[in-house]
Symmetry: C2
Subunit: 301 residues, 2 copies
């Protein structure tokens, strides 16, 4: 068997888990790590024992790349890989227009260079998107609620940290049910900062002003950090002429590990599609799994 040679781009939480996922996949091998910062190359090489480069061309033949980098960097970075015929996968998490624009752009690049991009391939967007479609396949009429948490919101945590008077912070998303959420923000104050003043700034911030938000003072934010997260999706709808069809999907996971594993599974699927760009809604689910096709069908059908 020709193993898929995979480059990991980035070396944050998701990238580290992606490397572990590639190493445990029977049909893949890690080609190396691509970093942006030359100062980190040696440390990452010592930690992983793998080639570490500033450009993927230094890693020898590479079939696919896991882009474990910030969503906002994806539109610029993905084409550089696709243009070399390297498949890409990302967990781009800006829903809506931005995702559709990315899909159009990468589709053109992939088709021009014989490569495949799978975008929005984490757990939401990603596997949750597939579940949403499946629930509508079973009951086309009705409402689906997606409830997130409890778990850390990266975006909101970064937003709080940028507020004046905040030394360290953690923003948790907690589900209220029926698709509504509240936020619990834990703040470690900077020297001399006043809690009520900082609390007022957080509640007035555009990231928080539309949500039910509670701010708590905290001596040591580090002590609260946990990368667990969860989701609970519910649909009540109509199949044919029968109402009150009830469906639920829920998950409680180590967040970067789940994201990374879905990305690696999606990269396997990328290698099995025609050139272009795909979301997980556009890929046959069997393509994510390693193993002989008929044996998988026999076991899973």
């Amino acid at each position: 068997m020709n193993k898929l040679r995979v480059a990991i781009v980035g070396f944050g939480n998701v990238a580290k888990e992606a490397l572990a996922a590639v190493r445990s996949a029977p049909d893949m091998e890690a080609a190396g790590i691509v970093l942006r910062d030359p100062a980190k190359v040696e440390a990452v090489w010592r930690e992983t024992g793998l080639p570490v480069a500033l450009d993927v061309s230094e890693l020898g033949p590479v079939d696919g790349a896991v882009l474990a980098i910030a969503s906002r960097a994806i539109p610029a970075v993905a084409p550089r890989y696709l243009e070399r015929g390297i498949h890409t996968v990302d967990s781009f998490d800006i829903h809506g227009d931005a995702a559709m624009e990315l899909r159009r752009d990468l589709d053109a690049v992939g088709k021009a260079h014989g490569s495949v991009a799978v975008i929005c391939a984490g757990w939401d967007p990603g596997t949750d998107s597939v579940v949403r479609a499946l629930l509508e396949c079973i009951a086309p009429r009705g409402i689906t609620y997606t409830n997130f948490g409890p778990g850390m919101s990266m975006g909101h945590t970064v937003a709080v940290k940028a507020i004046e008077g905040v030394k360290d912070a953690l923003s948790l998303t907690l589900p209220k049910g029926t698709g509504l959420h509240k936020r619990h923000v834990y703040v470690e104050l900077a020297d001399g900062a006043d809690f009520e003043t900082v609390r007022g700034r957080i509640l007035g911030d555009p990231y928080f002003c539309h949500d039910e938000t509670y701010v708590f003072p905290c001596d040591d934010v580090e002590r609260l950090l946990d990368l667990g997260h969860g989701v609970h999706m519910e649909r009540k709808g109509v199949s044919a002429c029968s109402h009150n069809q009830r469906m639920e999907f829920s998950m409680t996971v180590m967040n970067p590990a789940a994201t990374a594993q879905v990305m690696v599974s999606a990269l396997r699927a990328a290698a099995r599609q025609e050139p272009g760009c795909y979301t997980m809604l556009e890929i046959p689910p069997l393509d994510y799994l390693s193993g002989e096709r008929e044996a998988l069908l026999h076991r899973l059908t």
Copy 2:
């Protein structure tokens, strides 16, 4: 828009719900019903107001057929439609070798005649199969349990009814958890039959002798009949190097309605695939849904 013209084959519980699903689909229209028994034609015509025929050729142009008939009849019936270029969908529920053989046979017929068969397209096998694949995409290592019920098992009910001394019967499947089940059998005795004797026959029957089975006497089985059913799937597994990733999918539904709706959604997908035979594991989930592709992606991603 060219609506998909759909024939419903059969007129049992699933077929009636399939007709309702076709009628409520914005992109389909019912071409008519195909029956095997000439004696029933007039009654079905009166009930539905649709053309009813003994052969699909009498229904005018037909794009696809919902084969709402017994699984054992599918291998002989499906090719007759595929040979005319009519796509088929079935909810063939014999897992394992029989399904793989059906897939190979219908794949050849479909490819020869430019038509598509989607097989095993109910909720299990069917949407549950897709969920099983998705759970392995998130956590490739681990165990998935599929727990059925509480709900009526058609096959086991038919088996009990065939036992000497039984006038009417109902066999329920109840989940014990971790993929194990027990059966509750309600029997209405034939005149002069002895309950303990009948109970012994049921417990010794090949359908029941391997399962934990409880037999209850009942004056009126009809009064207990309810077409609700359910499933609860659980997986605990490993994503990348993180253990104890927990996932669940559950559903409680009117069984024939859910089956029929999935079949109709799968027939829509059939019309979007290349000729051949597919299980739901081999079809992009977006293809089950009606509506403009990019709008669906925008909403569901």
